[in-house]
């Protein structure tokens, strides 16, 4: 094998990719999806609620509400000048719940009076708004110095390891969905970008011009390098624009590199099977589904047989390793098994590519 020839074909492919709008779109689409997820979801694992307050005198009530709801949510307090302004904010859903606290509210409570407290909720209250409203009785009793009727001990059970709950609880929705976008991007490279390059070479018969001097193995090596470069460049771009930094960078890198190698092998196989761009457009969409769905359902409560099938798909193992790397904890255990399954697919993919090449040469 001539490395000079591999390098020449590889550089040609890279240059061609920068001028091929199809390949640019194949890269941009998952990047935009990742960016969108990053805006839609937050890193906080606790829900947040906004409390609007109108109070003409100093009061402990907002702080007491924050303390009382702390275990369940993050309550942010914003004060307003008058009731009209607060009502507008609630109507516009800028705040989840509004409180109009009368003057001398705290001292009135302490003196045993029943001052009137106005609670303003939108037509369809959020969970946060309802929760704060429901906590008012308990909090005002406490401010009035009344002893609670019972002492409630709150015990929050940790999420079961290896489930989507544990992943969301540990990592947060934003990072999970960015990881899904990363896997989508690698899958797009495998089932679309790389096969598109190969299919075009076959369809336009430039492949025959290459193999007049280069060996099939040299061409395949160059295409593999091209696919890997595409993956290795695009994943850091995704992480940079979404500002996602894995807790275990080394494990994440291993996960991405192994997955890239495997998916590139499968992409070479798909590209070798397709004779025309039209065929590829049809079958790449079909091939994308079994690559993406197993990654998305990792840890979700699905029937056992679905979980068994999904667990042998490499992208599902990419997701498991990825969540472990993002959280820095082995939420989905048996990392060696994930690595083994991904590598097994690499062996299958490249083995089939090699088998096709030898058959082709014998024809």
């Amino acid at each position: 094998m001539s490395l000079v020839r591999v390098n020449a074909i590889y550089r040609k492919d890279l240059r061609d990719a920068l001028r091929d709008s199809r390949l640019i779109v194949a890269l941009l689409m998952p990047l935009l999806i990742g960016l969108l997820y990053s805006f839609m979801f937050k890193d906080d694992t606790k829900p947040a609620a906004r409390l609007g307050v109108v109070a003409s005198t100093s009061t402990q009530l907002p702080a007491a509400l924050q303390a009382a709801t702390k275990a369940a949510m993050q309550l942010k307090v914003q004060t307003y000048a008058d009731q009209a302004a607060l009502t507008r904010q609630v109507r516009d859903k800028k705040v989840d719940v509004g409180l109009v606290i009368p003057a001398g509210f705290d001292s009135a409570l302490k003196n045993g009076a029943s001052p009137q407290l106005m609670v303003i909720l939108p037509a369809s209250p959020s969970f946060g708004g309802d929760y704060v409203a429901a906590m008012l009785d308990k909090v005002t009793q406490s401010l009035a110095g009344q002893v609670p009727a019972a002492t409630v001990a709150r015990v929050t059970l940790p999420a079961k390891a290896g489930t989507a709950d544990s992943a969301f609880a540990e990592v947060g929705a934003r990072k999970i969905f960015v990881l899904v976008a990363v896997i989508l991007m690698l899958a797009m490279i495998a089932v679309y970008a790389l096969p598109a390059v190969l299919t075009e070479e076959t369809e336009k018969r430039t492949m025959e011009a290459l193999t007049l001097i280069a060996s099939d193995a040299e061409v395949i090596a160059a295409k593999s390098l091209f696919g890997l470069t595409y993956c290795v460049i695009s994943v850091p771009i995704m992480l940079a624009i979404t500002r996602v930094i894995p807790e275990n960078v080394a494990l994440f890198a291993v996960d991405i590199v192994l997955t890239s190698i495997t998916l590139v092998g499968l992409g070479l196989l798909l590209g070798g099977l397709m004779k025309t761009q039209t065929q590829l457009n049809t079958w790449s969409t079909v091939a994308l589904i079994p690559m993406i769905v197993p990654a998305i359902i990792v840890g979700l409560p699905v029937p056992g047989w679905v979980e068994t099938i999904a667990s042998v798909i490499p992208t599902a193992q990419t997701m498991r390793l990825g969540v472990n790397a993002l959280s820095g904890r082995p939420l989905f255990g048996a990392e060696w098994l994930s690595v083994a399954i991904i590598l097994a697919w690499a062996v299958v993919g490249y083995g089939l590519v090699w088998w096709r090449l030898t058959r082709q040469e014998a024809a």
Partner: protein, 287 residues
């Protein structure tokens, strides 16, 4: 035509066949091509021309028989044969998003040729001014010239051309033929397929006719025309009547003699048979 004649064969084909199931695309052909010779392969679509080139360039494995190029088996010593040959494909299979120069640079690297070969070839095929433009903006004639330049990057000892002037306007076709002739005059062997009889007549030292996968005739164009073509003459008489006579026909010869004796003949134009006539005689229908 090139001045071949060393007699040393650079292409040797012996009993070469290629079968696809029941179809005999190429059926037991044997021939040799001398170093520096231009050989034309003519035949209908599906006669086996492209399959023959595919086997000789190592892109299809023969069902039986063997072919040697410069003494190397095209199947078992393919890596030795590769640097010695090149091919102008029937399709204009260029990288259209790349410039003409980038296309040539790629193949110069693949063949390990010196980088100076790129401007030299661009100049030779008249594409220096368009070298930086992307190939998709080229005309068909420019693409064909670039294809030929690409096939010359390794200065091949044997240049295969599959329908090199197909679809070109007369001016572009003339330029392409001129480049082929120039390469052959430098001592290279040229093996081409074409549909154009005049092109074969003009370029080739020898011509092989392929029909249904078999070689039905192989010789110089002149010999083929003499052997299979119709020798004729057009006679214009004093009464302004025109007559086409076959010179091999005894009756026509006697008529000519009587007109000559009577002093009725104004002009006589002799006609040599054409390769087209030869092909019709051999294959039963024109190309």
């Amino acid at each position: 035509m090139s001045a071949y004649g060393s007699g040393r064969a650079i292409i040797e084909v012996d009993g070469l066949s290629k079968h696809y199931g029941e179809l005999r695309a190429v059926d037991d052909i044997s021939f040799s091509v001398a170093d520096g010779e231009i050989l034309g392969l003519l035949g209908h679509n599906g006669a086996g021309k492209t399959t023959t080139i595919r086997m000789l360039t190592g892109r299809a494995r023969p069902t039986s028989g063997r072919a040697l190029i410069a003494g190397h088996d095209v199947v078992h010593e393919r890596e030795r044969v590769k640097p010695l040959i090149n091919l102008v494909f029937e399709e204009q299979n260029l990288y259209e998003r790349q410039s003409g120069r980038e296309n040539l640079e790629l193949f110069v690297k693949l063949y390990g040729a010196p980088p100076a070969r790129v401007p030299e070839l661009l100049e030779r095929v008249g594409l220096t001014d368009a070298a930086s433009r992307r190939v998709r903006t080229y005309s068909s004639g420019m693409k064909q010239r670039l294809l030929i330049a690409r096939a010359l990057v390794n200065d091949p000892r044997v240049l295969f051309l599959d329908e090199p002037t197909k679809g070109l306007d007369p001016s572009s076709a003339r330029e392409v033929r001129s480049i082929i002739r120039e390469h052959a005059s430098a001592g290279a062997t040229v093996f081409l397929t074409t549909h154009y009889m005049e092109e074969a007549d003009e370029l080739c030292d020898r011509v092989a006719f392929l029909a249904a996968g078999r070689i039905v005739a192989l010789d110089t164009p002149r010999e083929l025309k003499l052997r299979y073509g119709e020798r004729a003459a057009t006679v214009l008489l004093r009464d302004r009547s025109e007559h086409r006579l076959r010179l091999d026909d005894c009756g026509d010869a006697a008529r000519l003699e009587s007109w000559m004796t009577a002093g009725d003949v104004l002009t006589v134009h002799s006609h040599e048979g054409t390769l087209e006539d030869v092909f019709v005689n051999l294959a039963g229908r024109p190309l």
